[in-house]
């Protein structure tokens, strides 16, 4: 482990190979990085913007020695990142964390906003393994339904359900609403989810009630990324090291926090 970690945790500075605008708030950034290009779906990397900040980002895709991440403009660091262009210098370390288990059978994926990114990566891997892939993709507006086109290519259009908060595309509802209907009609071997934590909490409550195996990829404030600093803990787990992917039984152990609270920069508990 020690050598592995030392190697993956060492920052590699590289130039942005490409920057693609996906929506008014989301861009895809791609860099060349040998280690991260071997990442598994669910893993994340730490992206350093020299002189600005370093943030954890879940991996959207790996291909030909390159790794891509989806970044939503949410704060100062990501706003800065959105201003960067192809050729600008960034640092990466990772990949870190565990990954989704790759289930066979009938699989349902539920992504909210940029939470769709790691699930798209997973769907690509599952396409060859699973019997059927169904996807619920939710966002606030039509413009923010990122990666929908890629999903349609993998899952076949009829198995992709889109939802928007404002009804500008697909069904006007939260991504969790079609879930109950779907579960009444079909059985699934596994449910994967990534997105806003309240959404994932709802998916968890439904999956727990119906006893369907599920995995969720969590997000927390992260500093070290390697399980040392404690910034990202939920219950006894470290999201960066024990996660970011947690299964139903692990999520049950952290029920009091999951969907409700996290640690802030000063280590204080703050509501989600």
């Amino acid at each position: 482990m020690s050598d592995y970690l030392t190697k993956h945790n060492t920052v590699r500075t590289t130039r942005l190979a490409s920057v693609k605008t996906e929506s008014p708030t989301v861009k895809t950034f791609t860099v060349e990085d040998k280690l991260c290009s071997k990442a598994k779906p669910g893993q994340f990397l730490m992206l350093w913007m020299p002189g600005v900040d370093e943030v954890p980002l879940s991996i959207l895709n790996v291909e030909g020695g390159q790794v891509s991440v989806a970044v939503k403009k949410v704060g100062d660091a990501t706003r800065h990142l959105h201003e960067l262009q192809m050729g600008d210098l960034v640092g990466v370390r990772g990949p870190f964390g565990n990954s989704f288990t790759e289930s066979r059978g009938r699989v349902l994926l539920i992504g909210g906003g940029t939470g769709t990114a790691p699930l798209l990566f997973l769907a690509k891997r599952l396409a060859a393994k699973a019997d059927k892939l169904s996807f619920i993709i939710g966002a606030q507006t039509r413009a923010e339904l990122v990666y929908l086109h890629d999903l349609n290519l993998i899952c076949s259009e009829e198995s992709v359900i889109s939802t928007t908060d404002d009804g500008s595309f697909g069904i006007k509802c939260l991504a969790t609403e079609p879930l109950e209907d779907l579960l009444k009609k079909q059985s699934f071997n596994m449910v994967y989810t990534c997105g806003p934590e309240q959404m994932m909490r709802k998916v968890f409550d439904i999956a727990e009630k119906r006893r369907i195996p599920m995995e969720a990829s969590l997000e927390r404030l992260m500093r070290c990324g390697i399980g040392l600093c404690g910034s990202c803990v939920i219950g006894k787990y470290r999201v960066c090291r024990d996660g970011p992917v947690f299964n139903l039984s692990q999520l049950s152990e952290v029920k009091d926090e999951f969907g409700y609270s996290k640690l802030g920069f000063d280590g204080n508990v703050i509501p989600i």
Binding site: V11, W48, D53, R238
Partner: protein, 307 residues
């Protein structure tokens, strides 16, 4: 006999084994500390807590370097008033001594934070007078024998539980500071905190840590920490020492014990080898003691000084 092989009794703290979680690692929450104890730690030290909440520095706060980790977290903490609840909770779940790491900007503040921590249930306080990357506290206090004495004296005047002083290696003579701390009433010493250091990226042509300077930990500093423990033990100050710096396996632990430490603190190795490091060290230590024919780990403390 072999059941008690690893028991250590130091400064009034009873440890089932001499491995202790070092400050700064995972120490925000009782649940995290509990996991470390379940993994085999004989005691735990919390993250450093001060009077007021601090958000810490922006990332990067941790940098991988050759044979170690560099960090400048910037003492992020919720402030002792809020942290008191977590201390109280931790006390209900932990079955081992809970040491609360404390920092301040004045002697009075150290004393106030320490006494609040003890009220909340801390079994001991460890004074962080050695953080190398926050201005006006940490090693700026622990590098000066006079300010160090004031801080230790003022905490001792307010706190009835054991007071441990965590020393900085970033000094000319660690023994001088150790002596000052003990003279002011320190019940035990931790040697040492991180070594002040930095990292530069050649492509970005700038320091990697947002704070520029930070503290080096892990394998790289073990020989430095070992020498500090050896020097302090040799000065015969009559207080027990927690050896700290690069302990990742039982051999490292034995080296520290032979140098004069009564127990070891483990931090960076929690990232490198994960929680099993505590059990690994204890198993190896036990096997070593049995192989060498000792009845207690205490028998090898300081043994290398006979040579």
């Amino acid at each position: 006999m072999s059941k008690n092989l690893l028991n250590v009794n130091l400064a009034g703290l009873k440890l089932a084994n001499p491995t202790v979680l070092a400050s700064g690692i995972l120490g925000y929450s009782g649940d995290s500390l509990h996991r470390v104890v379940e993994a085999g730690a004989g005691a735990v030290v919390t993250k450093s807590v001060g009077m007021e909440a601090r958000p810490g520095y922006p990332n990067p706060t941790v940098v991988q370097v050759e044979a170690g980790l560099l960090n400048a977290m910037g003492l992020p903490n919720p402030g002792v008033a809020d942290f008191a609840e977590e201390i109280a909770y931790a006390k209900t779940v932990l079955k081992v001594p809970l040491m609360v790491s404390v920092f301040g900007y004045t002697a009075e503040e150290y004393a106030a934070v320490a006494s609040r921590a003890v009220e909340a249930g801390a079994d001991a306080v460890e004074l962080n007078v050695s953080c190398p990357h926050v201005k006006d506290t940490g090693h700026e206090i622990g590098q000066n024998p006079r300010t160090l004495s004031e801080v230790v004296g003022s905490v001792k005047a307010k706190v009835k539980k054991p007071v441990v002083v965590k020393l900085s290696p970033n000094v000319t003579d660690v023994v001088e500071l150790a002596r000052a701390a003990v003279k002011a009433g320190a019940d035990a010493l931790t040697a040492v905190n991180t070594v002040k250091a930095m990292a530069i990226d050649v492509e970005a042509q700038m320091p990697i840590l947002s704070n520029v300077r930070g503290g080096l930990s892990g394998q790289a500093i073990k020989p430095i920490a070992l020498r500090c423990v050896y020097d302090i033990f040799e000065a015969d100050l009559k207080v027990p020492i927690f050896g700290c710096g690069g302990v990742a396996g039982w051999r490292d632990a034995v080296e520290f014990l032979l140098a004069g430490a009564s127990a070891v603190q483990i931090g960076t190795a929690v990232a490198m080898s994960d929680f099993k490091v505590f059990e690994d060290v204890n198993k190896g230590l036990r096997a070593y003691l049995l192989r060498k024919g000792y009845g207690s780990v205490n028998e090898i403390v300081g043994l290398s000084h006979q040579a």
